[in-house]
């Protein structure tokens, strides 16, 4: 059965998704397709099919890529750059360029996908870059979603990395007293179109995660369980020596599975999920983390 047009006009509205091949981007694409949207995937090389258009964070955005869309969802983030200057050059200035293009093209709703790592006072470069982009987005009336750690049966992103770590015989547990706010991938998928359709977006960032903090040990136990390890062996380790070891390793050609900057996000999480009531008011029910 063909999906019903979300605005009932008979013509499916068009949503463009940056980073559509990534974990979060692919969930956005799936969510919008299921809700009856026509999806344009924005990524490098726009010649991969009629639903692809050319986009890169570090280049000018072709006008044709963004024209004629109703909604823009900006998920793209380049994790290959690690220095602060390169993060700003690619991710912050690239996002600024995208927002300016969206404004010039008259895009009705732009959703900027941020992270719970973005909060005032964070030392994490990823969180700081997201925070700067959030301020720009909010200044232009855009919708900002701070996602918790997205998980599912076969997760990507950070949850996927943790799942790999959880398959080790002995699982290191830096920041063992830390916590995370979690978001199931199915909930995220269903939520995207609701934010696109909402009458108005709040003028501050919306936390999209179940509001109960989940101890990090529990997150890792669940990751181990889904890797087939019923009784994982955890070894709490101080995170600072690990951070500096990873930091130094990143100066060499060695690429550890987890970046030092990501470790900061794990051990220094946000303290609360903002605007959880607003999320509920849209009819979005977020499932609690299992266990």
């Amino acid at each position: 059965m063909a999906p019903e047009s979300p605005i009932g006009s008979g013509t499916a509205p068009v949503v463009a998704v940056t980073g559509a091949s990534g974990y979060v981007g692919s969930l956005a694409v799936a969510g919008f397709l299921a809700a009856g949207y026509k999806v344009r995937r924005l990524g490098r090389g726009g010649d991969r099919g009629p639903d692809h258009a050319d986009f890169s964070l570090d280049r000018e955005i072709p006008k044709a890529s963004i024209e004629g869309i109703d909604t823009l969802v900006h998920c793209a983030y380049d994790f290959t750059v690690t220095s602060r200057q390169e993060i700003w050059r690619v991710n912050v200035l690239g996002t600024e360029r995208l927002f300016a293009s969206a404004a010039a093209a008259g895009v009705r709703r732009t959703i900027f996908v941020s992270s719970m790592s973005a909060y005032a006072g964070t030392h994490q470069r990823y969180g700081q870059a997201k925070l700067v982009c959030e301020a720009m987005a909010l200044s232009q009336g855009m919708c900002v979603l701070r996602l918790g750690m997205v998980y599912g049966e076969n997760p990507g992103g950070m949850a996927g990395t943790l799942k790999k770590l959880a398959s080790l015989p002995v699982i290191p547990l830096p920041g063992s007293s830390s916590h995370q706010y979690m978001l199931h991938e199915q909930d995220l998928r269903s939520a995207f179109p609701l934010f696109a359709k909402a009458e108005e977006c709040p003028d501050s960032a919306i936390g999209l995660a179940h509001p109960v903090a989940v101890p990090f040990r529990k997150v890792m136990a669940r990751a181990a369980q889904s890797s087939g390890r019923a009784r994982p062996l955890f070894v709490p380790i101080p995170w600072r020596p690990l951070f500096w070891t990873m930091y130094v390793a990143e100066l060499t050609p060695v690429r550890p599975p987890l970046r030092a900057d990501s470790l900061l996000g794990l051990v220094r999480p946000a303290t609360a999920v903002p605007l959880a009531d607003y999320v509920r008011s849209l009819g979005i029910q977020l499932r609690p983390f299992p266990g």
Binding site: Q85, L131, E134, A135, L138
Partner: protein, 533 residues
């Protein structure tokens, strides 16, 4: 016919008057101290404006250009308007005001147009992130920013500042910038990613001026003879000329009272004859400047002897040197208002911002040099220095600045209360100022703009003129401590008296102030029309 009375003629009063005048049946009266430039100088300015600036005589130039004057108690001099101190002068409104503990006492303007006669003319909105912490949000203010920008001419350009501060209207192009400004902006463009990664954003000035008519006579800082820089007095001139308002000058409002749920009475003192006059209206809009309004309210409510805190965005001066010299700036003429803005976003959240306005050369630079150089203006070393120097005027947000405190005490019968203005502590050791200066040093190699740290100075309390917050807007004013106003600028004691100036600001960010003062006053007046008479 519904009637409103506005007290004052500064930017807040102009914002309220603009909103009320949109209702054709609304009767608007304005009472004001109304101090003006003396007649002789007004005529001289008018005569000069009628002729090309190349034909002005030395006497004419000298007649209207007086550089800022040092005042006691602070490192930042006081500007003059066409050679006159009338924006700061005591026409009667400063009687009984006493400044203590390093504070500036000239904190209430009695001038027609208020302090907008001498402002820096910089206009940008507050960031959405700043307003997200107010009960009044971006979407509440945005239409009123746009309405004000239909009245106030915006000159500027679309650049990196627009990401945080939307332009809202199409700006008029800036006149050509000074060589130093162009150099810094070019360096910024060349090293943009590095500078942005430090939390620094730079963009050209956004000015309230009719730039298309600028002849670059270089007199912006001492009073534009052609009247191209916006002043609230221009709005009132128009509204008076078109008969849309009835304006009375020479009046100092001394008391406000509301008769039950009915009309409001404002008692004013005639400054010459010392007679009292009562004015009645359905609604009253207080726009006497944050401290002027605070004094009037405290006296009317007989709230004496209790210190009331005000929030001030502290001002600092940061001179800078560049390695690469320009031509001698004294030989070149350019507009002399702020030419570019440097923002330091210390947390990256669009809230913890410091803003620095950089100015091109003006004669105050020479006057500020050490004696040996100042006394030999044609020497090679003086020229070498002037070819490398820039001056930035910076601001810190009120939550990282010292507080001002005012205390009212009963005054003579029928007069305003005595008022003590004090600054509570110095900002010199402010961690945020240190962070801003450290960031400037880190950005210096990229921008060729090296702050001269020993010469950084912080203004005395009340000298930034960016203060307010004595009766901050609150979602629940009845239960907010101790004196708060609702979104209509009303205190719990009155439902037809609206405070419309910065006295109702919950905070005073470091970004430019006047556009939000006008927009919020416009919003309050506009929304009050829906409350009925």
């Amino acid at each position: 016919m519904p009637s409103s009375l506005i007290v004052g003629s500064g930017p807040a009063a102009a914002g309220a008057a603009l909103a009320l005048s949109e209702e054709p049946d609304h009767q608007i009266t304005v009472i004001d101290v109304g101090g003006r430039l003396d007649v002789v100088t007004r005529e001289l300015v008018a005569a000069m404006a009628a002729t090309p600036h190349e034909t002005w005589t030395r006497a004419e130039w000298g007649g209207i250009t007086v550089q800022p004057v040092s005042t006691s108690g602070g490192p930042i001099p006081e500007k003059r308007s066409y050679g006159s101190d009338f924006p700061f002068r005591d026409f009667g409104q400063l009687g009984g005001v006493q400044a203590v503990e390093r504070a500036n006492g000239r904190v209430i303007s009695g001038a027609y147009g208020g302090y907008s006669n001498v402002w820096g003319a910089q206009i940008m909105p507050f960031t959405a992130a700043t307003l997200a912490r107010w009960p009044i949000r971006w979407r509440d203010l945005e239409p009123h920013y746009r309405a004000i920008l239909q009245e106030v001419p915006l000159t500027g350009q679309d650049d990196d500042l627009a990401s945080l501060f939307p332009l809202l209207v199409k700006p008029r192009p800036l006149p050509p910038l000074a060589e130093r400004s162009r150099w810094v902006l070019d360096r910024y463009e060349a090293h943009r990613a590095k500078v942005r990664a430090l939390g620094v954003v730079i963009g050209a000035a956004r000015l309230a001026m009719r730039a298309e008519d600028c002849v670059q006579c270089g007199l912006c800082m001492t009073g534009c003879p052609y009247g191209l820089i916006y002043s609230a007095s221009q709005t009132f001139d128009r509204l008076i000329r078109t008969g849309r308002i009835t304006y009375y000058s020479g009046l100092l409002a001394v008391r406000v009272a509301q008769r039950g749920e009915g009309e409001v009475v404002v008692t004013a003192l005639e400054l010459g004859a010392k007679q009292r006059r009562d004015f009645t209206a359905d609604r009253v809009f207080l726009a006497a400047g944050a401290i002027g309004t605070t004094r009037l309210v405290l006296g009317s409510l007989q709230q004496y002897k209790r210190p009331v805190a005000l929030r001030e965005s502290a001002q600092f001066v940061v001179p800078s040197l560049s390695r690469r010299p320009t031509s001698d700036p004294r030989r070149l003429h350019t507009f002399t208002l702020n030419q570019f803005n440097l923002l330091v976003d210390t947390q990256g959240d669009g809230v913890e911002l410091s803003q620095i306005h950089y100015y091109p050369y003006n004669p105050t630079f020479l006057a500020s040099l050490p004696g040996l150089l100042r006394d030999r203006p044609t020497s090679r070393s003086t020229s070498a220095l002037l070819r490398r120097i820039s001056v930035g005027l910076g601001y810190l947000p009120s939550w990282n600045s010292p507080r001002l405190e005012v205390t009212a005490n009963p005054g003579p019968e029928g007069a305003l209360p005595e008022l003590t203005v004090a600054q509570k502590h110095t900002v010199r050791a402010s961690p945020m100022l240190r962070l801003v200066l450290t960031t400037l040093v880190r950005a210096a190699p990229h921008l060729d703009l090296w702050p001269i740290l020993p010469k950084v100075s912080v203004s005395q309390g009340g000298k930034s003129y960016h203060f307010g917050g004595s009766f901050p807007h609150s979602d629940d004013p009845a239960n907010a401590a101790p004196l708060a106003s609702d979104r209509f600028g009303r205190l719990p004691q009155w439902d037809r008296v609206h405070l419309v100036d910065a006295s109702v600001f919950p905070t005073v960010p470091a970004t430019t102030f006047t556009l939000t003062v006008m927009a919020n006053a416009h919003r309050i007046a506009n929304e009050s029309l829906g409350l009925g008479s």
